[in-house]
Amino acid sequence: MNRMPPMCREIEPDLLAVATGEAAPARAEVVEAHVSRCAPCRDELRQYRAIEGLVADLRRAPLAAADPTLARAQLESRLADLKTRLVSFGVFSSPLGPILIARSEQGVSMVEYLPSETAARSRLARLAGANAVEDEAGTEGLFRDVLDYLGGRRTRFEWSLDLRWARSDFQRRVLDATSRLPYGAVTSYAHIARDIGVPTATRAVAQALRWNPVPIAIPCHRVIGSSGDLTGYAGSKVSLKQQLLALEGVPVAVGGAGRVERRAMYVRYLAEAEYCVPTCGVLATTPLSELTLFGSRERAEAIGLAPCTSCRPDLHPIPA
């Protein structure tokens, strides 16, 4: 090839382009003119065109040994498996700081307060068998729900939850009982323990809620100590608990870890259908494990409770 005359060498790339049908018309004309005079290049062009024909044969020939059927079937089953394990997540900056929201095809599997705007240190990595994929667009709608809640435009989440990664059945029962706590209400860990039929398991309930995989949506911030102290939230984020309770209209005395002002809240005894002022009967000395407290009459009535017929909170509300 190097012994080619300069003209032939120069025209060679265009000659290939002509053979493969990719030459610009002007270049093709130059090549045609050249090969009409130059027999070796004419032969080259013929050879390259012949190769095009051979390659076209290859394109059409089936690859006898490469049947994709089995691979396709295996792929379908692996995809089905992946779909059940796939968890897509987004990291968003919220008024409470960076949060991660993750969902599977079954429902929301995680809401997590992050120390920074990256998922690097997320607990997501600890979901055994889960395949986490960042998908901000796919989780943005959930984040909007959170923003609506934080902006006071939403009082409940219509989310389906995926609690497959809960630590135990006990934790699932705790989460389930907690998820029924209404907006604007608080109760104690002991009450939840009582609710799930293990009244002595107060500390275990607190632990189960410490590892709540979906805080906010499962409102563990509405569960407090029997003394009224906020105790803890998502590890050491008790100030967030205070913020969430304030948002929901629960009166919290600041100072220390914060304490719910029991005297300023309406009260429901166990599963009664009525709500009372906090001084009704013996309620003032009844342990919090038997009570649910409401920040306002509206909150109690929102879940269908009627004013107590003896203390008449409707006629004699708690003085502001």
Partner: protein, 175 residues
Amino acid sequence: MAEDAFEAVVATHHAEIHRYLARVTGRAGDADDLSQETFLRAFRAHRQLPPGANVRAWLFTIATNLSRNYFRGETRRRRAHLAASTDGPVTDAGWPEGEALLSEASARVDRIIAGLPHKQRLAFTMRKIHQLDYEAIGASLDCSAESARAHVFQALRKIRRGLDDLATVQTEPSP
């Protein structure tokens, strides 16, 4: 892209991607594995794909990247094998396809392609067998469209030279 849309992606493209991988790796078993891996990766990432993206070209990019990792591993394995072997170089039987269906010349072209350097083999296969445009090939190989074209042309020159010692090249493509 919705989940069920991905089923359609598999249905439309799996066979072709499998064929591409079979050709570039030279082994049906590897095409089975790599084609599955291609689509599993695609599934994890397809939500980020902008609307109207060229899905076929994107799948070729994933498959090409996987095959390049495969080649890297393969080269290592072969070196290790050679180092451990006293029988000298192992002859690669090449692609055991239905060569009976091909003319001798086409089969020879096929063997020359199998012996090309990876990038040329990938570029040539994408262009000439799967007829992707140079932009897509460049995206797959992480180079410009111009370089992609240069790889294809270089492959053509090697095929041309490889056929030189064959007494005659069929001038008419078989029907």
